[in-house]
C-alpha cells in the first residue's frame, strides 16, 4: 500500500498545514504498514522539497513547471493525478484549504476515488482508515470509511500535529507531466492579500472576535489592537457582518468559517447556535459579555460578565505590560 501526501506551497514556501499533512500521513503509513511519499507541485519547488524529510517522509516527488506558479484547478489536478498513477499510490492526503479542497474534489472525480473531506481525526481499524469529520459546521461528527480502491482524505488545518521536526532530508524525484496550454482552462492570474500581517482565521492560533454588542464598526478598533498585540486573527459574528461592520470573510459560524484556534476570545457575542457551531472546537474559549445568560458562556472556559468597552482595553493594557510591549 502506498500513501501520497500533497504538501501545499505558495510562492516557494510550504504552508504550515503541509507539515501537518505529511506528518499525519507518516503516522497513517506506520499504522497501516504502508509506504509514504510526499508530492510538491509548483514552479521551482525542487529546492524546498527535501525539508519535508523532517516530518517523516523519506521521498518527495516533484512536478514543476513555470506555468504552475499560480494554482490552476485543471492543470494541478492533471499533475497530481499523473503523480498518483505513476507512483501507484492508493491513498492521497491533502489539506482542507482553498487549494486542497478544490483539488481533492477534482481528483476524486478524475480518479474515481472516494473522498472524506475536512477530517479532524483519523483512526485505524483492521487496516482501514476511519476518518472523523464535523458536519453541520460541527454540530455533529461522523465517522467515514472510504470504500473505493483509491481513497482521498483532506485534513483540516490547525488540527493535526506536525510532530517534532527531525534532522532528516528527503530524497527528491521529479515526475515529468507534459502539460498542454489547454490544461490551463481555469487558471489563477494574480493573488491579492487582504490584511497584511494578520493571520487568516482558518490558520490563526489565536482569534479575537467581535459581535453585535460592539454597537458599530468603529469599535472593532479595540478588537484589532488586542489581536495585533497577540498576532491573532480578527473574527466577527454573522450579526456584525450582516450589519456591514466587517467583511464577510471575517465571519465565524455555520455560514462563515469554522475555526479551531488554541484560543478564541468572543467579545460582545451572545453565541447564537450558528456561531457556536463554527468555533466551539477551539481549544480554549474566553467570553466577554454583559449578559450573564448569553449562550456563549455555556461553551467558554473563562468568562467575564461585564462591559467589553471597559474590559478589552484593560486586557490589552495588562497584556502589553506582561509582554513587555508597553
Amino acid at each position: 500500500m502506498k500513501i501520497l501526501a500533497y504538501a501545499e506551497q505558495r510562492d516557494g514556501k510550504f504552508k504550515k498545514v503541509a507539515y501537518e499533512v505529511v506528518h499525519a500521513a507518516h503516522q497513517a503509513a506506520s499504522q497501516l504498514g504502508a509506504e509514504l511519499a510526499a508530492l510538491v507541485v509548483g514552479k521551482d519547488v525542487e529546492g524546498i522539497a527535501p525539508e519535508l524529510g523532517a516530518y517523516g517522509t523519506k521521498k518527495v516527488y516533484v512536478v514543476q513547471d513555470d506555468r504552475l506558479h499560480y494554482y490552476s484547478s485543471t492543470a494541478y489536478a492533471k499533475a497530481v493525478a499523473a503523480a498518483v498513477e505513476s507512483t501507484g499510490s492508493d491513498i492521497l492526503f491533502l489539506p482542507a484549504t482553498a487549494m486542497g479542497k478544490d483539488l481533492a474534489a477534482r481528483l476524486s472525480a478524475k480518479l474515481g476515488a472516494g473522498l472524506a473531506a475536512d477530517c479532524t481525526q483519523l483512526r485505524y481499524d483492521g487496516g482501514e482508515i476511519i476518518a472523523t469529520r464535523p458536519v453541520y459546521a460541527g454540530k455533529a461528527l461522523v465517522d467515514v470509511r472510504v470504500n473505493s480502491t483509491r481513497k482521498i482524505f483532506t485534513l483540516r488545518p490547525n488540527v493535526f500535529s506536525a510532530g517534532n521536526p527531525a534532522m532528516e532530508k528527503a530524497a527528491v524525484e521529479k515526475v515529468n507531466v507534459p502539460l498542454e496550454d489547454s490544461d490551463f482552462a481555469s487558471k489563477v492570474t494574480s493573488i491579492s492579500t487582504a490584511k497584511a500581517g494578520r493571520p487568516d482565521l482558518t490558520e490563526a492560533d489565536i482569534i479575537i472576535s467581535g459581535g453585535r454588542g460592539l454597537g458599530g464598526p468603529e469599535n472593532f478598533k479595540m478588537i484589532e489592537e488586542l489581536a495585533d498585540l497577540l498576532g491573532a486573527g480578527v473574527g466577527a459574528s454573522r450579526a456584525a457582518v450582516d450589519a456591514g461592520w466587517r467583511p464577510h470573510e471575517d465571519q465565524v459560524g455555520q455560514t462563515g468559517k469554522t475555526v479551531s484556534p488554541s484560543l478564541y476570545v468572543a467579545v460582545a457575542i451572545s453565541g447564537a447556535i450558528q456561531h457556536l457551531a463554527g468555533m466551539s472546537s477551539s481549544k480554549y474559549i474566553v467570553a466577554i459579555n454583559k449578559d450573564k445568560e448569553a449562550p456563549i458562556f455555556q461553551v467558554a472556559d473563562y468568562g467575564i460578565v461585564g462591559d467589553a468597552f471597559e474590559i478589552v482595553p484593560e486586557l490589552t493594557l495588562q497584556l502589553k505590560k506582561a509582554l513587555g510591549k508597553e
Binding site: 475536512d118 461528527l141 470509511r145 472510504v146 489563477v188 455560514t255 473563562y302
Partner: protein, 248 residues
C-alpha cells in the same frame, strides 16, 4: 446563455442537531428545511447573467419530493424551470455529482452554478466534481464574477486573500457569501413559480464511494469559570491563560 443552478435542501442554521435512530443521519423531524444559504448567491448570480445576456435559468436538485420546495423557492426569485433528480438515499458527494453530471451532460450548459458548500455535510466538493466529470473548467468559493464574451474572470477566496481566476465558457462556478446580495422573492414571483415546470428524472442508482458509519454529537463542553463582572477580573484571566491554558 444556458444557465443551470444546482440547489440543495438543508436544515436551517438554527437547527439543534439530533441524531436519528439509525445512528448515521440527523433526525429531520421538527427540522425546518431551507434552500442552502450559499445556493442563494448562486441563484442570484445566474439571474443577473440572464438579465444581462438573456437566456434561461434551470434549477437542478438531487433528492426526494421535498426538494421541489427549494426549486420552487429559487423559481420564486426568478428563472424558468426545474429538474428534480430523484434519489432514495443521500449517498456521498461523488454519487450526487455523478447524478448531476449525467443529467447535464447533453444540456448545452454555458455555466453551471453551485453554492460553495451545503451547510449540512460541508463537503464543499460537488460543484468541482461535476466540473471534472463534464470536463469543464471551474472556480470555487467565488466572491466576484464577470462574464465577457467567452471569458469568465472571477475572484475566489483563499486563506488571507483572493485569487483572480480566468476561465473559458462553458464552466462551473461555486458561490461564496459576498458574491452578491440575493434578491427576495416578490409576491408576483412566488405566484409565478407555482406554474413553472419541474421535470423529474430518475437516474440509475450510483454507488457512493464513502460511507458514514456513525453520527454522534460532539462531546458537550462543560461551562467554565466566571472570573468576575468588571475589569478587576482581567489579571486573573491573564494568569489562567498563561498558567492553566498555556495559550499566551
Amino acid at each position: 446563455m444556458k444557465l443551470f443552478v444546482c440547489v440543495n435542501q438543508v436544515p436551517d442554521t438554527e437547527t439543534k442537531v439530533k441524531v436519528s435512530p439509525d445512528g448515521k443521519t440527523i433526525d429531520r423531524s421538527d427540522v425546518n428545511l431551507i434552500l442552502n444559504p450559499y445556493d442563494e448567491f448562486a441563484v442570484e448570480a445566474a439571474l443577473q447573467l440572464k438579465e444581462k445576456f438573456g437566456g434561461e435559468v434551470t434549477y437542478v436538485s438531487v433528492g426526494g419530493d421535498s426538494n421541489k420546495e427549494v426549486i420552487r423557492k429559487a423559481l420564486a426569485m426568478g428563472g424558468d424551470k426545474g429538474i428534480l433528480i430523484k434519489t432514495e438515499s443521500t449517498g456521498d458527494s461523488y454519487s450526487v455529482a455523478k447524478a448531476i453530471a449525467e443529467a447535464l451532460k447533453d444540456s448545452g450548459a454555458d455555466m453551471i452554478f453551485f453554492g460553495k458548500q451545503s451547510i449540512d455535510y460541508d463537503d464543499a466538493s460537488v460543484g468541482t466534481m461535476v466540473a471534472e466529470l463534464l470536463g469543464l473548467p471551474s472556480a470555487s468559493v467565488v466572491v466576484k464574477l464577470e462574464v465577457s464574451q467567452n471569458v469568465v474572470t472571477c475572484e475566489r477566496e483563499i486563506e488571507g486573500g483572493k485569487e483572480t481566476v480566468e476561465l473559458t465558457l462553458p464552466c462551473v462556478i461555486t458561490a461564496q457569501k459576498g458574491l452578491n446580495e440575493p434578491r427576495y422573492p416578490s409576491l408576483k414571483g412566488i405566484m409565478a413559480a407555482k406554474s413553472k415546470p419541474i421535470t423529474e428524472v430518475t437516474p440509475a442508482p450510483i454507488a457512493p464511494l464513502a460511507e458514514v458509519l456513525e453520527m454522534r454529537k460532539p462531546p458537550a463542553k462543560q461551562p467554565g469559570k466566571i472570573l468576575g463582572t468588571d475589569k478587576t477580573a482581567v489579571p486573573e484571566l491573564i494568569r489562567l491563560l498563561h498558567e492553566e491554558a498555556k495559550v499566551i
